[in-house]
Every structure is written in structure tokens, then in C-alpha cells.
């Protein structure tokens, strides 16, 4: 081997490709939601009464509490990510499991509620219901993908910790911070119809 012959090269820490890749994905998804939220307000300003007559105003108490619960999952995610970076496998697993419980609980209730709302006021009523359900549904889809990520990560962590998995834990945590922020923005947009 030539290792011995190699002079040491100076190094500096930079973001990993995985982290940059997640940043790029987040930028792209953020643009996607920006376009949908832009649509929401465009349609709103084209319409005299918002929400249109015959469509109930969006409920706020339960959704706000639920989103608060979801946003709290950022804390165990972040702690899990740090634990993974420090090599504390058991701690990382527990933190991610706690996060998963919060996220899955939120998701289960929201899906149930989404179906209820659809039964009451179908999506094909008017432009308001179209954009309302599409925006909310897209947000739920992102939560669902995040849950899949965490399930997959826990599956991987069941077999120990590698640098690759540490990296994965970091980027999935980043994804969740983004999704939580996104959920707040989406909820705020939808609740703006109440004002």
C-alpha cells in the first residue's frame, strides 16, 4: 500500500453531499408549495366570498393542537440525529421511536379527519374546495413520506450504526424540520379563510 508515502493533506469540514442533496430537495418542495399557496391566494382574490357560500369555514382548534404536537416531533428528531452522530445507538433509536409515535398519531388523525371532511364537503364543489383539499393533501403526503423515512431509518438502525446511517439520520431530521415548518405554513394559509 502507498498509504505511508502519502503526505497529509489539510482538510476542512464542509456539508456532506447528502445534506446538500436534502437542501436541494427541500428547495424544490418548498417551490411546489409556494406555487400551491400562490394559487390559493390567486383564487381567493378572484372570488368575492371566501370560502364560498355553502362551504364550511375550516375548523381550527383541533388542527392547531395537532400541528403543535407534530411540530414537537422536531425535538426528538433532532436529539436522535445528535445521538446518532455521537454514536449513541440506543438513544438514537428511542428518540426516533418517540418522534415516530407523534408523527404517526398526527397522521392517523388527520387522514381520518380528511376523509370525514371529504364526505361532508366533496372536493368537486368549487375552486375553494379544490385548492383546500389539494394543499392539505399534499401536506399530508409529505408527512407520510417523512413517516416512511423514519420507519426505514429505524429498520436500518436495528442493525447498528454506520457513517452512512448517521448521514441518513441527519438528512431525515432536516426533512422533518422542513415538513413541520411547511405544515405550519399550510395550516396558516388554510385558516386565513376564517379572517
Amino acid at each position: 500500500m502507498d498509504v505511508a508515502a502519502r503526505p497529509a493533506l489539510p482538510r476542512r469540514n464542509g456539508p456532506t453531499a447528502a445534506l446538500l442533496g436534502m437542501a436541494v430537495l427541500v428547495a424544490s418542495e418548498a417551490t411546489l408549495f409556494a406555487a400551491m399557496i400562490g394559487t390559493y391566494y390567486y383564487l381567493r382574490f378572484e372570488t368575492a366570498v371566501w370560502p364560498p357560500r355553502g362551504v364550511p369555514e375550516p375548523k381550527w382548534v383541533v388542527p392547531v393542537i395537532l400541528v403543535a404536537v407534530l411540530v414537537c416531533s422536531s425535538v426528538p428528531m433532532e436529539l436522535g440525529s445528535r445521538a446518532a452522530q455521537q454514536g449513541r445507538l440506543a438513544a438514537a433509536r428511542s428518540f426516533f421511536l418517540v418522534a415516530l409515535v407523534l408523527q404517526a398519531g398526527y397522521f392517523a388523525y388527520e387522514v381520518h379527519d380528511f376523509a370525514d371532511q371529504l364526505r361532508e364537503t366533496p372536493i368537486d364543489r368549487n375552486a375553494y374546495t379544490s385548492v383546500y383539499y389539494t394543499l392539505l393533501g399534499a401536506d399530508h403526503a409529505h408527512v407520510f413520506v417523512g413517516i416512511l423515512f423514519v420507519v426505514w431509518l429505524l429498520g436500518k438502525l436495528a442493525f447498528g450504526l454506520t457513517p452512512y446511517r448517521v448521514n441518513a439520520a441527519r438528512v431525515i431530521t432536516w426533512y422533518w424540520h422542513f415538513v413541520n415548518l411547511l405544515t405550519i405554513v399550510v395550516l396558516a394559509t388554510l385558516l386565513s379563510a376564517r379572517a
Partner: protein
């Protein structure tokens, strides 16, 4: 091992180890599972050429139909599918994949001194998704159900009420499908540019080509999601009864246009900025001068895309927007001229002081400058709102954007084909047929597109499958048709020349042009590991820094940054280009093509409205992803 084999110089031994580590699988399986950016680049190249041929045939059919008044070579319905597919093909299946997919994939890692893209498997995935989306949308053409509401697909014409067939569903899904591939490619380039450059290549030492691709990638990243949202809305409107674009239920037909052009105008710059990048490689190579006003050109490349996001509504001046809105967008459209004029004069001045060798690649760049300036000057005219409203949706516009898209995007692509031909094949092309092909294409395109300005002013609207006699349009249309076939002949000559040269051309050697950037410092064709040693870089024209290249040879002897234990590459800090870590690269994987296959099943189920089956195919995609990530490349962060 050293005991058995005769002693060899350390450098050769290291190269042999690299060779072994990076060698792809032989045969077809090697191509299907490859993650080598050069092979993926070539796959993109051949595939996009096929689509270019299809788009070209569509164009020639249209020109044949319009050759005389009241002609009936094709039916109105066929004509509508032809012009829609021509636009979709040339934009989504030729220019974007040709520039980013083929040129970018093949050349970008070579120019920044990397051994592969940052995410090699994702790179393969982009290609297979792109190919699948192309097949998906072309199947519709052969079924006679191709998109037929134009590439910009305005509602309500594209809504279920006025387009009951599957045509527009193919459009929506095909565009979304293709958009996934382009988004992956864009993200790939951004991350690769920021992390995989050779140590020492700080951003200000990065070749202008890479700046152009960075700009185009950012453009794609922020423009495509908006198109995706737009087409998703349309798909939902058509298939589950939402009312985004339905005025009767509170929707808006103009909403489609806003979202479409928010994507569509940056798209124009996404098409031409990579071509600018090609020009900024060819000009220095043939004038042997660095690009003049380098920092301004780099900034201009980024700025043109950035400002391009603020001008979309100038496509909609006839929609009936408030005058204040129109004037704002006209002013923004005026601003976007400046980064272009900066570049035009920088290119011209470099050629003037360089006193270049006018070989075929540079001829294409000269043609490009001429066409781009012509198209740009008519583009400036659209700042004048009343004039824009007079000529919008006429052949004047068709002339303008073909000068831009054919002249400014495709000419550099042709120039680039000639320029990098020796690098990719190791052979020289034949010069005389090359120059003839240039003049044929140059004369052909001008004959094809210039009269369109005139018929546009004479009142001929776009997108009509025929036109009456007696309005003075016939002779110009005939000239355009002749120009179209002349252009096609030139392109056939170009491709024929390259094909013959591939087998019969002289050996090119590693650096026939004395090129400015790193791809010319390695073999032709480059070895699978690209560089035996990660190159030392101290300027944007690294191949002209002879001392650095000497240093590379010394490093290879000493084993510095050779990284020959497996498939390794360096990662650097994003801005300064300091060495940050050594990373293990994945090498060869069956999962990208399997995932793309599963994804195409999802889209197929969606288009035939089997949503349950689509969900099952979605689960297949997830399984493919799990399989993909079951292999973990080790990452050495020490």
C-alpha cells in the same frame, strides 16, 4: 504480487489499480446498470438524438403541409398533434436532456476534476426516468392520442369539456414524469458542483461552462415544481372533478397561464444558458485566449436565469391585465436584456483580440452569436407592449423564438458535438464536410426562420394547419419549407460526418485543440476513472497551467490524491474548494433502472385511470428504493 510481476513504475501500477476498480461490467448489462457519468452522458446523447429526429420529422411534416395555401397533406387533428409534440419534444426531450443530460453529464465531472457525479446512482435513475417518460409520451402519438393543445396547453381548451380524449392526460403525466428526471438532474448538478470539484477550484476558478450549468440547474430546480403543480391541477380538473381552471365554479383560466409561464419563461433561459456555457468553452479553445470580462460573464450567466423568473407575464400581454402590471413586466423584461448583451460583447471581443482558428466548432459559435443577436433584437421589441400585442401569437413570435431556440441553443450544441467529438471518441472529425454542414445549416435556418418574421407581420397567426390564398403568405411559406429541408440536409451531413469520422477519423490524441479546461488533460476517450490523480487547480483555465499538470504527474508517482483503494473521490467545501473528505462512490447498480421501470408502471396505470393499480405500483417503487439503499457505500470522514 510484486514478487511475481516485473517491477513497474509506481504510476503505471496505480493506474492499473484504478482501471480495475472503476471498470464497468461488460456488455448490455454493463450499460443497463452503469453509474458512470460518461456512459450515462452517452446514453442521453443517443436517446435525445432519436427524439431530435422525431421532433425534426414533425417539423418537416408541418412545413410540408404549410408549403402552399389550402394544402392537405395532414389532417387538422394530426397537425395539432404535430405542433404540440414538436414543441414538447424539442424542449423536454431534446434540448434540456441534450444540454444537461448529455453534455453536462459527460463533461461537467471532467471539467471540475471529479471522477463521477455526487450521486451516481441517482444519475442513472434520471436517465432511465427520462427515457421512460419519452417512450410514455410517444406511445400516445402512435396511438393517435398525442397532446394536441399546444406545448403550452391552455385551458379551457385542454379541459375535459373540450378535450375529452386521453391526449391531455398524456400531456400532464408525461410532463410530470419527465419533470422528475430533470429535477433529479438539476439537483445532481448543483450538489456535484458544490461538493465534487478538485481541491483548489474555488468558485471563482470554476470554468464558465460550469457556471452556466449551475445557473440552468437552479432554474430547473425552481421552475419545474411550478409546472408540476400546474399539470397536477389540470390532471385533477380533468379526472376527479376539481375546478382550479373552471370559471363557472370559481376557478380561473388565466391561473393556468400564470403558473405555466412562471415555469415557461425561466425555461427559455434554461434552454440557452447551457449553450452559452458551450460557447464559453469553444471560444477560448479556438482563440487561445481567456474569456474577456470573465467575472461579468459568470455573473451574467447566473443573473439571466434569476431575472428570468420575474418576466413571465410578458407572454400574457393580450390576456387583458391592468396596464400597471403589464408595464412592470415589460420593465423586468427590458432588464433581462443586459446580462445577454454583456455576454454577447464578451464573446465577440474575445474573438476579436484572439484572432481565432475558424474551425467548424467556432463557426457554429459565430453562427450562434449572429442568430442569438437577431432573435434577441426581436425579443427586445416585445418590451413595447402595443407592438407585442400586435404580433403575439403570430409567426413573428415563431421566428423570434426559433432564432433563440434553434439559433442560440442548438447551434452551440452542434458546435459542441464537433468540439468534444475527439474527446469522446478519440478521433478527429473531417473538417471540410464539417464546414459545409455548418454553412448548409446556417443558410437553411435563416431561410427557414427569417421569412416567418415577415408573414407574421403580414398577419399570419401561429398554429393554423392551413391558410387561405390571397393574403400574400404563400411565397414566404414556400421559402420556409425549402429552408426547413435544407436545414435537415445540413443536420444529416453533420451526423453523417461524425459517424464516418468515428470509424475512419484520424487519432486525435488527448488534446487536439490545446483546450482550456481539465477534460483535455486526460485521455481521449477518458479512462473510466477520469483522472489518475485528482488534479491540482489554480485557475479557471486549468489545462493551460502547465506547472499544475506537471504537479499531477509528480503526485501520481508519489501516490498523493490517487485514491486507488476502491471507487473513491474527494469532496470539497462548497465555495472555497478546500478538501473536506474522501468519499466512496457507488459503482454500478441495477436499482435505478428497476425503480424507473416501477415508476413508469405507476404512470401507465394513472393514464388508463386504474388508480388502485397505480398505488400498488407505487409500493413497488418503495421496495425498489429499499433495495437501492440496502447497499451502503462506506464513507471515510477521517
Amino acid at each position: 504480487m510484486a514478487v511475481v510481476a516485473p517491477p513497474r513504475p509506481a504510476a503505471e501500477r496505480r493506474e492499473a489499480r484504478l482501471e480495475l476498480a472503476w471498470r464497468g461490467r461488460p456488455g448490455l448489462l454493463g450499460w443497463l446498470t452503469t453509474t458512470d457519468h460518461k456512459r450515462i452522458g452517452l446514453l442521453y446523447f443517443w436517446t435525445t438524438l432519436v427524439f431530435f429526429g422525431a421532433g425534426g420529422v414533425e417539423a418537416l411534416l408541418m412545413r410540408t403541409q404549410l408549403e402552399r395555401p389550402n394544402n392537405d397533406v395532414v389532417s387538422p387533428s394530426t397537425y395539432d398533434q404535430l405542433f404540440s409534440m414538436h414543441g414538447i419534444t424539442m424542449i423536454f426531450f431534446f434540448i434540456i436532456p441534450m444540454t444537461t443530460g448529455a453534455f453536462g453529464n459527460y463533461l461537467l465531472p471532467l471539467m471540475i476534476g471529479a471522477r463521477d457525479m455526487a450521486f451516481p446512482r441517482m444519475n442513472a435513475l434520471s436517465f432511465w426516468i427520462f427515457l421512460a417518460s419519452g417512450i410514455f409520451i410517444y406511445i400516445s402519438l402512435f396511438m393517435g392520442m398525442a397532446p394536441d393543445a399546444g406545448w403550452f396547453d391552455y385551458v379551457p381548451l385542454a379541459s375535459r369539456a373540450y378535450s375529452p380524449g386521453s391526449n391531455i392526460d398524456f400531456y400532464c403525466l408525461g410532463i410530470i414524469f419527465n419533470g422528475i428526471a430533470s429535477t433529479l438532474t438539476a439537483g445532481q448538478f448543483i450538489v456535484t458542483i458544490f461538493t465534487s470539484r478538485a481541491p483548489g477550484m474555488s468558485l471563482n476558478r470554476m470554468p464558465l461552462f460550469c457556471f452556466a450549468f449551475l445557473a440552468a440547474s437552479f432554474g430547473l430546480l425552481f421552475a419545474l415544481p411550478v409546472l408540476t403543480v400546474d399539470t397536477v391541477f389540470l390532471f385533477l380538473d380533468r379526472n376527479i372533478g376539481t375546478h382550479f381552471f373552471d370559471v363557472a365554479h370559481g376557478g380561473s383560466a388565466v391561473l393556468w397561464q400564470h403558473l405555466f409561464w412562471f415555469f415557461g419563461h425561466p425555461e427559455v433561459y434554461i434552454l440557452i444558458v447551457p449553450a452559452f456555457g458551450i460557447a464559453t468553452e469553444i471560444i477560448p479553445a479556438f482563440t487561445q485566449r481567456r474569456m474577456q470580462a470573465f467575472p461579468l460573464v459568470a455573473i451574467a450567466e447566473l443573473l439571466v436565469v434569476f431575472i428570468g423568473f420575474g418576466v413571465w407575464a410578458h407572454h400574457m400581454f393580450a390576456v387583458g391585465m391592468p396596464t400597471v402590471t403589464m408595464v412592470f413586466f415589460a420593465a423586468a423584461s427590458a432588464m433581462v436584456v443586459i446580462p445577454s448583451t454583456i455576454q454577447v460583447f464578451a464573446w465577440c471581443w474575445t474573438m476579436v483580440i484572439g484572432g481565432g482558428r475558424f474551425r467548424t466548432p467556432l463557426l457554429f459559435i459565430v453562427g450562434f452569436v449572429f442568430m442569438f443577436v437577431t432573435g434577441g433584437l426581436t425579443g427586445i421589441m416585445f418590451v413595447a407592449i402595443p407592438f407585442d400585442q400586435q404580433v403575439t401569437d403570430t409567426y413573428f413570435i415563431v421566428a423570434h423564438f426559433h432564432y433563440i431556440i434553434f439559433g442560440a441553443a442548438v447551434f452551440p450544441i452542434f458546435g459542441g458535438m464537433y468540439y468534444w467529438f475527439p474527446k469522446v471518441t478519440g478521433k478527429l472529425y473531417f473538417e471540410l464536410p464539417g464546414q459545409i454542414s455548418f454553412w448548409t445549416i446556417f443558410v437553411g435556418t435563416n431561410l427557414l426562420f427569417f421569412p416567418m418574421h415577415i408573414v407574421g407581420l403580414l398577419g399570419m397567426p401561429r398554429r393554423q394547419y392551413t391558410y387561405p390564398d390571397g393574403l400574400g403568405w404563400g411565397a414566404y411559406n414556400l421559402a420556409e419549407t425549402i429552408g426547413g429541408f435544407l436545414t435537415a440536409a445540413g443536420i444529416v451531413l453533420l451526423l453523417g460526418n461524425l459517424l464516418v469520422s468515428w470509424f475512419r477519423g484520424e487519432e486525435a490524441g488527448p488534446d487536439p485543440w490545446h483546450g482550456p479546461t481539465l477534460e483535455w488533460s486526460t485521455g481521449s476517450p477518458p479512462p473510466e476513472y477520469n483522472f489518475a490523480v485528482i488534479p491540482k487547480v489554480s485557475s479557471a483555465y486549468a489545462n493551460w497551467d502547465h506547472e499544475d499538470r506537471e504537479e499531477d504527474r509528480r503526485r501520481l508517482e508519489q501516490g498523493v490524491l490517487v485514491l486507488d483503494e476502491g471507487n473513491r473521490q474527494v469532496a470539497v467545501t462548497p465555495v472555497d474548494g478546500h478538501l473536506s473528505e474522501i468519499v466512496d462512490m457507488p459503482h454500478g447498480s441495477p436499482w435505478p433502472i428497476l425503480l424507473a421501470l416501477a415508476l413508469s408502471l405507476v404512470f401507465t396505470m394513472l393514464v388508463i385511470e386504474r388508480y388502485g393499480a397505480a398505488a400498488i405500483m407505487g409500493v413497488l417503487c418503495l421496495l425498489a428504493l429499499v433495495g437501492w439503499h440496502s447497499h451502503e457505500p462506506a464513507e471515510e470522514t477521517a
